[in-house]
């Protein structure tokens, strides 16, 4: 281990520890804020884990998030908490496999379309089930989980997700993703199962997102399909990951933190015009920073030093 990487690891651990001790010296409001922020950090990082290297834009974030939350609400009284989380992850995995197997062999746009309507489909199915089979819409969650507990779980999940994302970058899977990004024909002729790699990554990403929903569920005590399948969640995740930059480990995190604070402030001050402002910000981001702030910062930085960075999508020499 070089001195520099040792330093980064140490820094990561110190920051993590400082964040973990936060509930002991900060008030209830800060913890609530941090739950939301950490949740979005995980969502954006998990989203970028799949969508960054494959360029498949997933609009299904809230479908998995909602599946997680709803599974917890259904099972919270029948199973121990750990098993409830496990069950939620499993349901998310199964849905991800079905969606992935159906669409990931095809061109990316089919996946986008499928994921676009997935949240609405799951919401309507859950609503139909609750109204027709159980006869109630909406459920109470009584779990002995404090908001500090939720925060710690999310923090652990965030650390695990970042670690996982980092590990992929140095694994064979990471190499496979780079090769697929460069040239799918070469990839398959080298023995890479392209659809398999995409499916694996999509499933991991979906399971993490499902867990975020599951862990956050006890916060609400009462949930309804329209609450947990709110498309704004998918939208925010997407903006945050794109603003930070999906090609870099820290990109989604750096996008999530400022945007989360901005959106909190906006929704508190402009509750009615919130979606409009959100949409306009997003359009602006796509126009101004197509590769995210980190890439833009690197470009400006290298320009200042007179170094040219080759564009990522330049292709081969011929």
């Amino acid at each position: 281990m070089t001195l520099k990487s040792f330093g980064s690891v140490l820094f990561f651990l110190v920051v993590l520890a400082a964040l973990a001790f936060l509930p002991f010296y900060a008030g209830e409001y800060v913890v609530t804020l941090m739950i939301g922020m950490t949740g979005y950090v995980v969502l954006a990082t998990a989203w970028a884990l799949f969508s960054g290297p494959t360029r498949y834009i997933s609009l299904a974030t809230v479908a998995f998030f909602g599946i997680g939350a709803y599974t917890v609400s259904v099972l919270s009284e029948t199973l121990p908490y750990v098993l409830v989380l496990l069950a939620a992850a499993l349901v998310g995995l199964v849905v991800a496999l079905v969606v992935g197997l159906a669409t990931l062999r095809l061109a990316g746009v089919y996946f986008v379309i499928f994921s676009f309507g997935l949240a609405e489909l799951v919401r309507q199915l859950v609503t139909w089930y609750e109204v027709n089979i159980t006869g109630t819409l909406g459920r109470y969650i009584f779990l002995p989980v404090t908001s500090d507990g939720i925060y710690w779980q999310l923090l652990a999940l965030a650390a695990a997700t970042l670690l996982f994302s980092w590990a992929i970058g140095r694994s064979r899977l990471g190499l496979a993703l780079k090769v697929i990004g460069d040239d799918e024909v070469v990839a398959s002729h080298c023995g890479i199962n392209i659809a398999g790699v995409k499916l694996a990554l999509f499933s991991v990403s979906a399971v993490i997102i499902t867990l975020v929903g599951a862990i956050q569920a006890p916060r609400w005590t009462y949930i309804e399909p329209s609450m947990v399948f709110n498309p704004t969640t998918s939208f925010l995740t997407l903006i945050m990951a794109l603003l930070g930059g999906v090609d870099r480990l820290w990109g989604p995190l750096l996008g999530a933190i400022p945007l989360f604070l901005l959106f909190e402030w906006l929704s508190a001050n402009f509750p009615n015009h919130y979606p409009i402002i959100l949409g306009l910000i997003f359009i602006a981001i796509v126009f101004v920073l197509p590769n995210g702030v980190l890439a833009a910062a690197e470009r400006i930085f290298s320009k200042r030093r007179g170094v040219t960075v080759p564009a990522a999508n330049q292709g081969g020499a011929l």
Binding site: R55, L59, A102, V112, I113, L125, P290
Partner: protein, 290 residues
Amino acid sequence: MLTTTIISGLVLGGTYALIAMGLTLQYGIARIMNLSYGEMIIAAAFLAYVLFGQWGVNPVLGLLVAVPLGFAFGYLVYGLMLRPLVARAASRESLEIDSILVTFGLLFVIQGAMLVAFGSNYTSYNYLNVGIDVFGAVIAANRLVALGLAVVAGGALYLLFTYTLWGTALRAVAVSPRSAPLVGIDVNRAARFAFAIGCGLAAAGGVVISTYQTFTATAGVVFTMKALVVVIMGGVGNILGALSAGLILGLVETFVATYLDPGLTLAATYLIFLAVLLWRPAGLFGRSSR
């Protein structure tokens, strides 16, 4: 019962075909995957609602206002928002990604504006809500008008595309955007028109829908989704395909709603979509070109 279901299915299918034609033009010719398409439909539905409620303007006349407005809106959106993306796109894939993202943002802008103006309640109005006897089944007159409008608009578009030079030029762009300029077709202009016509059709669809369905400011996603499924079933850029696939989807949904449960129509749509993806991803009527 069966006749009623079939006719209701055809009405719904005609509407789907109409809106899917607009989307297939936008995606097939302008190469824009427009995720805010459903919001444009709902906006037109609200326009018809206001025209009818405030000024008593008959929805059929309302079309004469809504369609040109939709066209103008599409023309502007393409010129201001999408043209710069087309110009900077390095490949078809990167344009696809950019257009998906930007129109996803636009979806929230339009939806937000409608929420501010109309709230999130279910909206509807009473227009020609009288029963008419058709082959022994009683059908509301507004549904028959809706079917008629869909057939007229769809038919006119089909004729326009098949028999005019201008329509042929647009189809040429759909088939081969790279060689179209070689025979003197202005691809940029064609794309802009196709996108604008698509928005015009969305507006027409919205007005038609408002005559016989309740709608909310947040219902756009479902319409986009259904239009997309129809486009894929019919084959991207294929107008006749969109027409047939729209009718099929409308019939299936109505049957599911009548004989199973109205809460399962979207599930039925998804099931069809899944079957098409697994069985014929190039569309029911398209030849696979990959």
